[in-house]
Symmetry: D2
Subunit: 400 residues, 4 copies
């Protein structure tokens, strides 16, 4: 029998703050009531600064982020349309699979799992696409499977340099709310996320940021769509409602989560993610293990994928952590299975939680046969977190 | 400021039992963990007796029942396929709209809003369809907008009499779990429901019962599908999981709800719905108002749609109930707006709750200008509920 | 198996509002932390307007209102002290028993259970007490067992007329927060209440309002006391804490409950109790049954004790309501057992809840053999609640 | 603004398991209902194995463990009675203060704060008490302020050797449920505990184990008592109830907590506490700091009091942990203030939680100016926790 806190360090669903848990503990209510729209609007409006948009629209699709991948496609594209994508991890792979299933014609650039979006190659392809056959470019902002953050602004620059008119779709499921996201600045047309990562709520809601240009594209798109019909959803939202029964407790939770983020300040949220991620990376370095991300500039501030030594099965590390230490670590997906385990460090996190994850990963690694020094990663992360010794006044600290 | 219990008598989301609320109050967890499948299986297996199937499969689609309408279509049909449907209320209307949006060719039989599925007309059309162009028949088992329950077994008989091979799709969103549903006996190929009505949980999950014949049809269906891909979902369920992050708290809630239903006994659950619905109908009769359902045999045991007197706007009744009495009644939808209000009497309900709904509806009716006698409906329902005066032993009653 | 809402109409614990439930859903915390005092102060300060005091102190004793009965006594009186009390119900009886157990010398005036505090007799006794042997007068503001509210101001007047210096202790457990209470105006020295009635929180905390004169009396009182030591408690409160570990979730709940009462406005809270109580009393009259309170002026706005017909055992009414209708009614206590059942109508209540209680009491009464007309009580209460038919603008109503 | 989990490592209230939180999320209920006794009995009976008694009775006093200190005294002793106690920490000090306040005549043996109960000195005093003037011996089984566990069996042996008839009272507030407690074997007459430590529930309930001999003593004790009247409470419990409104949610919580302990197995619970405590002690040794307990045999398995270096104010350590790291450590009490901080390691705990506490204490110590090596304590605790590297089959581990 397991005792104590269940230590959750997968890259999502993330730990839900108590305030969000409380907010969701509501009885059911009439989603057609006159005042329901206050709740809907709190979430759609509250998402805008998190998405970095003032010009865009926000649609909330019950389901998941995956649903919003589909909503982005089926509302703006047509069967047979060429779309440009990179495949460099499990989630970009799945998005490409979806593109195929939805009868697009994806141009897929395969790069190493650990690499970022190949901006130069994208630039080359876009430049060569004289007839504008590519209708959309898909970018996985943060590839959750490899812990790689790609440069969306650079993709935008590539589009602009090529004077290319393709729509820009960005999967920000594991970045939005944790890593700066600038939908308007980057000219993102469809920004996809879900409720269960940086937004610190349970899974169950996909969130779609929609640019005016994307909305315009709905007019000409003839792909069949009903559940994911964007215009229906936005029209309903404008009236404060949904075209079908929404998961109201989740909306209460998201409202509370967004209020928390606003209170902390988005820049502070991002800085905290960076600081904590840095501690985790120091720990991995101290262990002498490798991070999946190929270059420090690609290392994600929300999830770190760690390669186990050649003779250590990462699945065994994860199993030991779960069975013995009540700790969930993220698994290696697809070709990375057995080679990689992941520490999610996003959402409602603090130093103590990161140190817990590191300390338990150390135990699991050693018990799985890795030759690392117990405590070495913790010490390295602590060194990253510790503040200069100083006799501060209590008042000064309280004001932090 | 509103005080006291929020009285919820819409036909869904329904009142969530305390045991289900508690079950959902879980921290987040790893949906890829080895033991997650226990939870998934508890829900998929637990749904089978509720659906009345031993041969079928159960798929759980994050989203809503509407999503399962789409899943039923996109996994088994092809663009341009003829489907036979009746339109006799807002939800059958919406399903027909979806059929059009998904590029089917619906043959729509329009009947009065208040009528049931026109079985004879269906029989005639099916009989005339010599070339088997109709690929599926859509039946709204319980039209939530009008409070009409249709005879699915009769539609099956019509199909069989015509030796017609079309698939039979049934929307049981507001019937399944509250009114007997016999998927296998009735030869239902796709049974659609959601978490938020008879299943006494929040909205957020669509549930699809799938016959072996429907599953077979997936092989030839070429409609694009990704999020709602049925075979992906069933394959994942077999491994205890989902193709994307599921709303785990809802699964915990549904497991608890299904356990409750099993404890009460499905036949007892259905009998309770019938008994309580009967009380509500007696109340309406006592008021001298009309029920939307055209014939007593059509009257739903889960929701009653009540016509207000000609000079009384039903929207005003609903508004008064909500604003003054903290009571949510169901509204009239589409052409019934302003003419009908609805009392949902399904899910976790008892006599006291029905009497509350009736008593508050009386106040709201009178305050909106209806000339009904205060207390008359309550008295009629009580007369339906009261048991013969008898000096039972405490033991006998306790054993009830 | 019971289904649906558990209808709770005992006079306490009362129905806890959702906002209070949410507020209590907190993880544990350090009650010695620097910021804990914010919570403590929110409750002690928030209680002052509810108690009607600006001059008094508030002490929060983990336990119950009964504990505060004891705290009132042991901190201010001495063994053998004469105290003047009336016995006119179960709770005044229990307080008198406590006085004896704590070795006071109570002068008990027995009046009918259904009568109020015998102010004239008190006045006579106080007037005759030339030597000031009576050290305290105990008044049960609202006798929960009989549904009788007594006139505290009149007792104060009697004390003043007799120029008597005795302390005035008032049990306001089932009145404070629901019925106007004016500690300062009435010269109450010890005001006793608990968390679980008008304050809409679970049981577990006794609350004591303490006048400066009562505090002064602590100096000379030599009755042994430790857990209930008032000066220890007030000293701790001043530092934001407690002398022993407090039930922190309850403090969170009370803070939320007090915020709710403040938002509604205390006068509105009192008026609502009066309006709803009036409805219940009309129902009893319509049944042709008698209220325990001897005179309309004595009828409590928080609980109504109803005499069953001679041949109907009130216990049977309560048992039927509980076993068959999932409804808790208050029982007759002491000599009233079997003769009386009670409807609690205090705390977070609205019209619908009162009508539910009445409707279910009707069913239980009839099933227990009473010859009352089903629906008659409901109709009478509705008539008390209904508002004139009027075409108000939605805006006007919303502003209510 | 604080983010992430609030890390709680005070010695109580302790972290409440999710299952207990869920169990407490109940609406209010009638504590006079026929079936309430099932709940009461589940707690009183469930406590017996935890107390180590089959002969004793269990009384549940709303309030706290401190209330049960008083209940133990006032039900069995008389004003002026001599009682033998040791003072070796804040809580034994407070109990002695209470003895004085309740007008006993305590014979207090002062020993170092960090020492255990002075068994030899007790033996000497009891041997010298020829006239049996000492009516009770008070033992603080686990002095929470110093992290010292004393030998109750040895005190029993001393009483027996002296053929002394005094009652034996034991404060087990921070031991019962976490450290073996053998009420019957040790001849404990009054065993005192509370809901908020090893019993993993919020504060609000004191629990008293009562031997037949203690119950007998109630007959002759004439100390005034009412709220804490033991015979009233036991009589009520026998009928399934309480003499006043009990905190029902806490009873639900305790029932769930006891079920959890039974499922884990009491011996496993105790072994877990020992194993985890050992890890914390290794960490302190690695830091080069001293534990308050004077001898390894006295070191508590539920709380460790750690002396900071001479130049480091322990209050600063605690403040930094709280303000910067959202971590509550226990403070030094009374003369230990500023010299000691405490790590509570009891209740629903696991390895990861201990490592978190150690890692954050390291950060706070260093930031407060202590010269310890970051990570050193964590590494030492990990070394105590790590299991031999072995390729176990998954099945074998799953069966753990």
């Amino acid at each position: 029998m397991k005792t104590g806190l269940a230590h959750l360090y997968i890259p999502g669903p993330t730990n839900v703050p108590e305030a969000v848990r409380r907010a969701m503990a509501v009885p059911m209510q009439d989603h057609r009531a006159a005042d329901f729209g206050i709740l809907t609007a709190a979430v759609t409006e509250g998402m805008k600064p998190v998405l970095g948009t003032t010009k865009g629209h926000v649609a909330l699709f019950p389901g998941s982020g995956t649903g919003c991948w589909e909503a982005a496609i089926c509302n703006t594209l047509n069967s047979g349309d060429k779309v440009l994508m990179a495949r460099h991890g499990h989630f970009s792979h799945l998005w490409a699979e979806m593109a195929r299933k939805l009868q697009l014609d994806p141009v897929i650039v395969d790069v190493a799992w650990g690499a970022g979006v190949p901006v130069n190659e994208f630039a080359r392809i876009l430049g060569a696409d004289r007839r504008g056959e590519i209708k959309a470019v898909f970018v996985t902002h943060n590839e959750t499977a490899t812990g790689v953050t790609s440069d969306v602004a650079a993709v935008r620059a590539a589009l602009d340099s090529a004077f290319h008119d393709a729509l820009l779709f960005v999967d920000g499921v594991s970045s939005i709310g944790s890593i700066p996201f600038r939908m308007d600045d980057w000219g993102v047309d469809m920004a996809v996320t879900g409720s269960q990562k940086g937004l610190m709520s349970p899974a169950g809601l996909g969130i779609l940021g929609v640019s005016p240009k994307a909305l315009q594209a709905c007019e000409t798109a003839r792909m069949p769509r009903a559940f994911f019909d964007l215009k229906d959803m936005l029209r309903a939202h404008e009236a404060g409602s949904f075209p079908y029964t929404p998961p109201a407790p989740l909306l209460h939770g998201l409202r509370a989560a967004l209020a928390r983020m606003q209170e902390e300040g988005l820049d502070t949220v991002y800085a905290r993610h960076r600081r904590l991620a840095n501690g985790v990376r120091r720990a991995v370095a101290a262990w002498g293990l490798e991070i999946c991300a190929e270059h420090p500039l690609l290392q994600s501030d929300t999830v770190t994928a760690i390669r186990t030594p050649a003779h250590v099965d990462a699945r065994e590390v994860i199993r030991i952590a779960y069975d013995r230490y009540n700790c969930s670590l993220g698994s290696g997906l697809g070709p990375l299975a057995g080679k990689v385990f992941r520490i999610g460090h996003l959402g409602d996190l603090n130093e103590g939680m990161c140190l817990t994850a590191i300390a338990l990963a150390e135990l699991a690694l050693v018990e799985a046969g890795a030759e690392i020094t117990l405590g070495s990663g913790v010490a390295a992360a602590q060194a990253a977190f510790v503040r200069p010794v100083a006799r501060q006044s209590a008042a000064a600290v309280a004001a932090e």
